[in-house]
Each structure stands twice: as structure tokens, then as C-alpha cells.
């Protein structure tokens, strides 16, 4: 008998007007004792609703049907009081956002001991001692002090460790983790995943891992369930699923994500539409509207699960079979070799510094302390090429992009744009230059004025810059640009809230290219989008870049996306550029210890590769940019740290190998060069 056996689970939300929406539509899955099972899907597929249903945590407007047999007992038949006796003791949950999941006004210690006091017979003192032990177990240094602290005094990674400590406190049989690392940085994500897997193993708990990230799943899960439109569409062991994906959706998902080891010079194969363009199950496969091979056969109501091989089941009429996942459809035009043609870069940034006030005096409100967001960065953006800038949150990559456009004040340094220094320019003088440089933002909803129609949003740049031709000509240009970004012309009269995330980002791109600029800065252009939509936007950006021969600065934390799109890549850490090289060179032979660990922290969507590679898991948190470490900013976390120089001498960026610049005292030794 399985530890958890969910049979035909349905979750419906009823709103006031007796309209109900089905979030989970007949999910069946099992988890064996001690097993690690993944539930993978995009937003709105019903994976979180499934998890909450297991613990009976759905809001009152939800109706749950089906059976949830846990340890021989159907949880759906229990009332809230009976369920609450099992929650936290037998089933425990770790949530996505550790900032909001902990009570901000209650000390950490109380939040841990209260679950012990509820479910175990421990005395207050014993519970306190146990809490201390738990914090030590999840790797929080100085637990005695931490127990008295409040959540806001801990970093994101630490908070998630506290959540994990709470979850394992009573030795649960099943640990449910709902996107436990999505809110965290890559290097912290690696720590937390490793911790979760280890603790589940040590405590003999089964782990149900809910995520949208196939990479996270590959290295961790024994078995994978793929969800789409409220149902499990495919289930298999992890190696089997990644080797022989059957369902067209699974295959589409795998084809659409760039990986650190996938071929670079190909366009991604996106899944058209958005995860919300789907059909209800009653009318057939819900993926049919986005599927390239769908036909009438897919329109049979209530498609059953098909056994493909032992343990591998799917719900697809036209399964992929053994054919390899189609990765390339159109090959990208080979890059014209750079260098010889135009030696002068479009943008030359020298010793750029950006700072923000960190603390202000009480009465005068004058800043008394600064965060050095960008701390002396020099780099060139070669014409017609894409420069990828990577780093974790707070490393200053976005500040650099904004300062380049003078959207943030520049503290010192220069930004030469086509030979003109933008850094000291007045806003009035800058305005004509703005026509030549544009930006695409991370959050497509926030970056569009909600009160303007798409037509007005796109016309504004033309109007502001007095593009000749008048309204008639402008409108024609707006329509042409809509074509160019793949939006229907009718979008002109629509407002931002009427579009899906991917479509809004297309509007954002249209606004950026309508003036036909020379430079495009894309700040995390796909990170707010669903996985299956990301590939569409990546391809669109590649295409407009080619047709307009744009110079692009791509700012992103996703190494795979950066690798896929960039010609040159720079890595930032705590406001400094630590490494820069040609994309191929950098990913094949990273020289800075930070780059090495960053790459090793990225999970690969391939269980085989994942199990073979050696991972470096960085210890500790990102230091505060308000108070960076002395010497090399990375020395506090560096696995290759040496006694001399690292802590007291700031390493300068230098060319270690031709075309490969690194800011590390020991780069040659580490890479085995010299």
C-alpha cells in the first residue's frame, strides 16, 4: 500500500455568482514511503491547489471531491479538527515564499516550538532545546541567537531553512514542498534543494516536490508527474521521463527550455499560446488548442491514461514515441565574425559607479550611508552583438542597465554611447539620444500604463520624438510594429489588462523597437513568464535583434537563457564585474570561482547529466551590498579562497586568457593554467 494515494481528486472554486471554476480535474497520483515524487506544471495547472487539498488548506470557497488516502485513512472524510491533529505531525508543508510564510511579529523560536508543543508531549524547555537542535540541523549558525530573532532579521535562504525546520520538527511521513526555491537565488536554491533531499532521506520522509522547473526535478525526483490543465498528463520515473517523454506537452516543455548544455545556434521551439488557452477536459485533451499534431481524435471527452511501459503512463492520443525531442526547427543564421569590421563599440562603460541611500538621518532626511550597487564596472557593448550580464539578485546588474540609460543617477564614471558621454549630460540634452536606446522590462504588467490603450502606448514614443509623418503615418508604424512582434492588429484598441503575460511582453518589445533604436536593454525579459511562453519571447527578441541589427544588453539571472542569446557574457557579483568572455569560452571554461559555482548550482533538466556532474554548493548567504566584504567581495563564500591577498586586496579585472577577463588573484592556478 502506498503512503499517499490520491484518487480522482477534483477541486472546484465557487465564486459568488454560483460560477465555479475547476482547478483540479481528476488528479490521481501515489507517493510511496520514502520516495521523492515531483509534480511539475506551469501556473494555473492546478499543482498548488492539489497540494493544498492534501492538507485541507484550501479556502472555504473550494469544493473537494475524490479520495486522498494517506497511511490507510481517507483524509477527505476527516473534519478540520481531526485533520489539524495530523497536519504538521504526519504531513508537513514548505511553501514558496519564506518571507510571507512566516509570521513577521512572532520570534522564530516560538514559530518552531509551537508546532512541537502542539503535536509532541515535550515540555516548553525541551521544545526550546529541540528547536535549537533543529536549527542546527538545517544549517543555521548561532541558533540560540536566531531563536530570539524575527523573520525580517534573516535572509531569504535562512527563512526557508526555518520553514524546513518547522516542517521536519515532528518527523512527518510526508513532506510537501510547493515551489520551495522559486523565490531564491540560484546558489541559495542549490543549498536548499540539497538540504530538503538530505533531510527527507535522513528522517525517512517521503517528499512531494511541486515545481515548474524541470531542472529542479531532474536531479532530485525518483518519479515525475506532469500536470496540465488540472490533470496529470504523464507520469514516469525521472530518467525515463527525460529520455522518452511521451505526451506532446511534456515534449514541448522540454524542447522550449534552453539548457546549459543544449546546442546554442538554434532557435527554441516554443509552445504557441499561453497556459490559459486551454480546453475543458469534457471536450477532449486540454492541450489540443496549443498542440501542433492535435486532430479530431484528441477531441474525445475524458481521455484515459495509456500505459506505455511499466511505470510510464500518459494521456496523449499522439504520443511522441522514441523520436528525439525536436530541439531545432530553424537554425540561426551564423554570426558574422566580429572584431575586424567595426572596432569601435557602441557603448563603452568606464569605471561606472551607482549608489543608493541606505540610511537617512532622522530629521534632515539626508542620506548618511550608501549601498554601492555598481562599484566601478568597465565594459564594452560591441555593435550588433548581444552582451549578456548575469548575477544573482542585488549584484547590481539591473542598476547598471538603468544607469546606462541614465534612469538612475550615475555617481561617477563615464558611459560613452557612440562616442558621446551620457553620464554628465542634462536630461534635455539626453532626450534626443533616448531615441537610439530603449529598454524591455521584467514585469510586463507594471511596465505598461494601465490607462492607455496599446495603440497609445506605442504611439507615444513616435509623438515625443516628433517622428515625421503625423498621426496617419504613426498609426501605420504602430500596426507594422504589432505585426513585427506577432500581435494581432486589433490589439491597438485593447488595454494592457486584457492580455496574457506573454502578449504584454510583446507589447513591451514593440514599444522598445518602434523607434528603431541602436541599443536595446532587456532586463530579465522572460523571468516573469511561464516556462512554455518564455521560448516565444526569447525567439522574438532574437528575431528583432537580427532584423533591426540591434546591439543588445541582456540582463538575466538565468544562465541558460543568457548562454542561448548572448555573444559575450559578463558575470557580476556585489556590484563588480568578476568575469567576462565570449559566451562559448565562458561557459566551457569559467575561470572565476563564483562563475564556476554559479554554473554548478544551475540544475540541468537531464537526470543523467545531473547525476554525473560534480556540484559545488556555496555555503552562506550573499553579503549585504551596503556592507560588502573587504578585498575580493567573493572571498567570504569562495571555495578556493586562500590565506593571502583574497581578504585584503581587491582583485582587478585582467585578461587571463586572450579575450577572457577575470577578477581573481588566483584564476590561473584554479583553472590549472599558468
Amino acid at each position: 500500500m502506498s503512503l499517499l494515494d490520491v484518487r480522482n481528486l477534483r477541486v472546484r472554486f465557487t465564486s459568488t455568482q454560483s460560477v465555479s471554476t475547476t482547478a483540479v480535474d481528476g488528479v490521481s497520483l501515489t507517493v510511496e514511503a520514502g520516495e521523492v515524487v515531483a509534480l511539475v506544471g506551469e501556473s494555473g495547472c492546478g499543482k498548488s491547489a492539489t497540494a493544498l487539498a492534501l492538507l485541507g488548506l484550501l479556502p472555504g470557497s473550494a469544493r473537494v471531491e475524490g479520495e486522498i488516502v494517506f497511511d490507510g485513512e481517507d483524509l477527505t472524510t476527516l473534519n478540520d479538527r481531526q485533520l489539524s491533529a495530523r497536519r504538521g505531525r504526519d504531513l508537513a508543508m514548505v511553501f514558496q515564499d519564506p518571507m510571507t510564510s512566516l509570521n513577521p511579529v512572532v520570534p522564530i523560536g516560538v514559530q518552531i516550538t509551537e508546532v512541537l508543543l502542539r503535536h509532541t508531549g515535550l515540555s516548553k524547555a525541551a521544545a526550546g532545546a529541540r528547536a535549537e537542535e533543529l536549527l542546527r540541523e538545517v544549517g543555521i549558525p548561532d541558533p540560540v541567537r536566531r531563536l530570539r530573532q524575527y523573520p525580517h532579521q534573516l535572509s531569504g535562504g535562512m527563512r526557508q531553512r526555518v520553514m524546513i525546520a518547522i516542517a521536519i520538527a515532528c518527523g512527518p511521513k510526508l513532506l510537501i514542498a510547493d515551489e520551495p526555491t522559486t523565490a531564491l537565488d540560484v546558489t541559495i536554491q542549490a543549498q536548499v534543494l540539497e538540504l530538503l533531499a538530505r533531510l527527507a532521506r535522513d528522517h525517512g520522509a517521503a517528499l512531494l516536490m511541486i515545481t515548474h522547473d524541470l531542472g529542479v526535478v531532474a536531479g532530485l525526483a525518483d518519479r515525475v508527474n506532469v500536470m496540465y490543465g488540472g490533470r496529470v498528463v504523464e507520469t514516469a520515473s525521472a530518467p525515463e521521463l527525460f529520455r522518452r517523454p511521451m505526451h506532446r506537452y511534456t515534449r514541448g516543455l522540454l524542447a522550449s527550455i534552453p539548457a546549459l548544455d543544449s546546442p546554442r545556434d538554434v532557435a527554441l521551439t516554443p509552445i504557441p499560446g499561453s497556459p490559459f488557452d486551454r480546453l475543458p477536459w469534457e471536450s477532449g485533451c486540454s492541450f489540443a488548442s496549443r498542440c501542433a499534431v492535435a486532430d479530431e481524435a484528441c477531441m474525445v471527452p475524458d481521455l484515459p491514461m495509456t500505459d506505455d511501459s511499466p511505470g510510464h503512463r500518459h494521456r496523449c492520443v499522439h504520443p511522441g514515441g522514441d523520436a528525439p525531442v525536436p530541439v531545432s526547427v530553424t537554425t540561426r543564421e551564423p554570426q558574422a565574425p566580429s572584431g575586424g569590421g567595426s572596432p569601435e563599440p557602441l557603448v563603452r562603460i568606464s569605471d561606472l559607479r551607482v549608489r543608493y541611500p541606505a540610511r537617512r538621518a532622522a530629521v534632515t532626511n539626508r542620506p548618511v550611508e550608501y549601498v554601492r550597487a555598481v562599484d566601478g564596472v568597465s565594459l564594452d557593448l560591441p555593435r550588433g552583438r548581444t552582451y549578456g550580464l548575469v548575477g544573482e539578485s542585488g549584484c547590481g546588474k539591473s542598476s547598471l542597465g538603468r544607469a546606462l540609460l541614465r534612469l538612475e543617477p550615475v555617481a561617477s564614471g563615464s558611459v560613452l554611447f557612440d562616442g558621446v558621454d551620457l553620464a554628465g549630460m542634462r536630461e534635455r540634452g539626453l532626450r534626443p539620444m533616448r531615441r537610439r536606446m530603449q529598454m524591455v522590462f521584467q514585469d510586463p504588467m507594471a511596465s505598461l500604463n494601465p490607462r492607455q490603450s496599446v495603440g497609445d502606448i506605442l504611439e507615444l514614443p513616435l509623438r515625443v520624438h516628433g517622428v515625421p509623418g503625423g498621426r496617419r503615418e504613426w498609426r501605420a508604424k504602430v500596426l507594422r510594429t504589432l505585426d513585427q512582434v506577432g500581435l494581432p492588429r486589433a490589439a491597438e484598441h485593447r488595454y494592457p489588462h486584457e492580455f496574457s503575460g506573454g502578449q504584454r511582453q510583446r507589447v513591451g518589445i514593440a514599444r522598445a523597437i518602434i523607434l528603431e533604436p541602436d541599443l536595446l536593454i532587456a532586463d530579465e525579459p522572460v523571468s516573469a513568464l511561464d516556462v512554455s511562453v518564455q521560448a516565444q519571447i526569447v525567439n522574438l527578441l532574437q528575431e528583432v535583434k537580427r532584423t533591426l541589427s540591434l546591439t543588445t544588453l541582456l540582463i538575466a539571472h538565468d544562465l541558460a537563457v543568457v548562454r542561448h542569446m548572448s555573444d559575450t557574457v559578463g558575470v557580476m557579483y556585489l556590484g563588480r564585474l568578476v568575469e567576462e568572455a565570449d559566451s562559448r569560452e565562458l561557459f566551457e571554461r569559467p575561470l572565476h570561482p563564483y562563475t564556476v559555482s554559479l554554473m554548478s548550482a544551475v540544475p540541468l533538466p537531464d537526470p543523467v547529466a545531473e547525476s554525473r556532474r560534480e556540484r559545488i554548493i556555496l555555503s552562506g548567504d550573499l553579503p549585504s551590498p551596503a556592507n560588502p566584504p573587504s578585498g575580493c567581495p567573493f572571498h567570504t563564500r569562495c571555495p578556493f579562497r586562500r590565506e593571502t591577498r583574497c581578504a585584503d586586496e581587491v582583485p582587478q579585472v585582467r585578461e587571463v586568457v586572450p579575450g577572457h577577463r577575470v577578477a581573481c588573484h588566483w584564476a590561473e592556478d584554479i583553472a590549472g593554467l599558468s
Partner: protein
């Protein structure tokens, strides 16, 4: 958890700007309709006062019928009877609506105008203008609104204009803060940064982009202030700071005059009091509905 989004995506969104969407949502609320009807009714009464009653306000024609122990109640010729000075009560109430609405609306409008201007300058320009404006509003907010109004009215003497200015003055810091706060919140948003990056001049960003997105809370507040202003007009008049001319009908003063006869003729207090409360209720209902409609938490 984005499951409930499902239905919204499936339903084809009706086209329209956010203002039109808000209006449509507003008209679907019963409380908003009720509030609107109340406000409309009192406005009509105030405008059509001379048509509704054959008498002049404040004419103590029937003073002779008043005795220390009794005030004639409803009867022929006098729908609601007389007041304690021998005027027709209905006439007083109808003309009282004029006073309350005119003073209340003008005061709110004045407070809104000045407050919004200060808020706009502070939020749009920043720097020392902002600091100065905020320090001054700090000081003004450190006195309770009614007390501020009392001090202004005390200094300016007894006139409707003084009452208007008094009530408006008390609202200026509130509107200024609100608009400034809402503008500052907009300033950090990406769409404003996007407008700057496109090269839109600052003044056009402030007026064309930030302002339209910031006025929501201010409009809501203004509607709610209409209710408070109506009450404050009466309160000032109750304290003897309102209209000095005894022939002008005013609800607050009617209440004061009724005090002496609370035992024998409670309706003399009840009716003007109810008029104040119902008018305030009308504005509040509309304001609350507007708040819910314009609240970003309920708008998707």
C-alpha cells in the same frame, strides 16, 4: 494559486479603459445606486426649493402660534408644522439643503483644489518643495480637523465663506498627502521608468502618466469628505460659528434651536438631524463603493 484566474481568461474581456470598467463595476453595486439616488434627491430639493414650498425661509410669520409649552405640529398648510420660531418647518428643511450642499460641496472642492495642487507640486517636483509641503501638512495634521476649522472660523468671523474656508483648510493637508503618496508610489513603477526611457519630458510624465493613475484615491477621499463636510457645516453652526443671518435656514442651527424643546417637540431636532445623516450617508455610500471599485486589490 492562480486557479480562479481561469474563468477570467476564458471569458473574452470586454474592451474599455480602466475608467469605463470602473464605472461599469460601480453601476453594478446596489449601495452605489442607493447613495447616488440620495445625493441626487437632495440636490434636486436644494435646486428646486422655491418650487417645493410657497413660503420664504426664516419668515417668522406664525410666531404668534408658538407658546412656551407647544409648537404646532403637522397640519393643513404646514406639512411638518412650525419650528420653534414660527417658521414653516418643511420650508426650513428644504432651504437647509441648499446651505448644506452649497457649503459642503464648495468647501470640499476648495480643499481638493488646493490640496491636490500642493500634493501635485510635492509629488511631482520632489526636493525642497516636497520637504516644505510635508512639514507644513505635518503641522496642520497635528490639530484635529474640526478644531482647525473652529480656529479658522473663529478668526474669520461668522459667515458662510468663513465656514467654507474653515472646512476646506482642514482638508487641504489630507488631500495633499494622499495625492503625493499616490504619485510617489507611481514614480517607482516601471511604466513611469519606461516613459522616461522613451524620452517623455518630465512634465508630460507627471500630468499625462502619473496623475491619471494617482487620482483614484483622491476621488474616493473627496466623495467621503463631502459627507464629513456636510456634518462639519452643521457642527460649526451648532457651535455658533455658521451663518450669522438668522433668516437663512441651516440644519445645524435648527438642531441648536430645538434643544430647548427636546422634551415637547423632539421632531424639531429629529428631522434636521436625519437630513444631515441621510445626506452624509448618500455621499458615504458612493464613496465606499468607489473605493472598492478603484482599489487595486480588487481590480485585476
Amino acid at each position: 494559486m492562480s486557479a480562479p484566474v481561469l474563468a477570467q481568461e476564458a471569458v473574452p474581456a470586454r474592451p474599455g479603459g480602466t475608467w469605463r470598467v470602473a464605472l461599469r463595476r460601480l453601476l453594478r453595486r446596489r449601495s452605489a445606486i442607493a447613495g447616488g439616488v440620495i445625493v441626487l434627491l437632495f440636490t434636486v430639493v436644494a435646486l428646486a426649493a422655491p418650487l417645493l414650498t410657497p413660503y420664504e425661509p426664516g419668515s417668522a410669520e406664525w410666531a404668534g402660534k408658538i407658546t412656551p409649552s407647544s409648537v404646532p405640529g403637522p397640519g393643513p398648510g404646514h406639512l411638518l408644522g412650525l419650528d420653534s420660531f414660527g417658521s414653516d418647518l418643511f420650508t426650513q428643511l428644504v432651504y437647509g439643503a441648499r446651505q448644506s450642499l452649497v457649503i459642503g460641496i464648495t468647501a470640499t472642492g476648495l480643499g481638493l483644489l488646493v490640496g491636490a495642487l500642493v500634493g501635485l507640486l510635492a509629488g511631482g517636483l520632489g526636493g525642497w518643495v516636497d520637504t516644505l509641503a510635508m512639514r507644513v501638512t505635518d503641522v496642520m495634521l497635528s490639530i484635529p480637523a474640526l478644531l482647525l476649522a473652529v480656529s479658522v472660523a473663529a478668526v474669520m468671523g461668522r459667515s458662510p465663506v468663513a465656514v467654507m474656508i474653515a472646512i476646506a483648510a482642514a482638508q487641504v493637508p489630507v488631500f495633499a498627502r494622499l495625492l503625493r503618496g499616490s504619485m510617489l508610489a507611481q514614480r517607482g513603477l516601471d511604466y513611469v521608468v519606461a516613459a522616461r526611457s522613451v524620452g517623455v519630458p518630465t512634465s508630460r510624465i507627471v500630468f499625462g502618466q502619473m496623475l491619471p493613475n494617482s487620482v483614484g484615491p483622491v476621488i474616493v477621499q473627496a466623495t467621503l469628505v463631502l459627507a464629513t463636510a456636510t456634518i462639519e457645516v452643521a457642527a460649526l453652526s451648532f457651535l455658533g460659528l455658521g451663518q450669522a443671518d438668522p433668516t437663512v435656514a441651516e440644519w445645524g442651527r435648527m438642531l441648536v434651536k430645538a434643544q430647548a424643546r427636546l422634551e415637547s417637540a423632539p421632531h424639531l431636532a429629529l428631522l434636521p438631524g436625519a437630513c444631515i445623516a441621510v445626506t452624509a450617508l448618500g455621499f458615504t455610500l458612493v464613496g465606499e463603493a468607489l473605493r472598492e471599485v478603484l482599489d487595486p486589490k480588487t481590480t485585476r
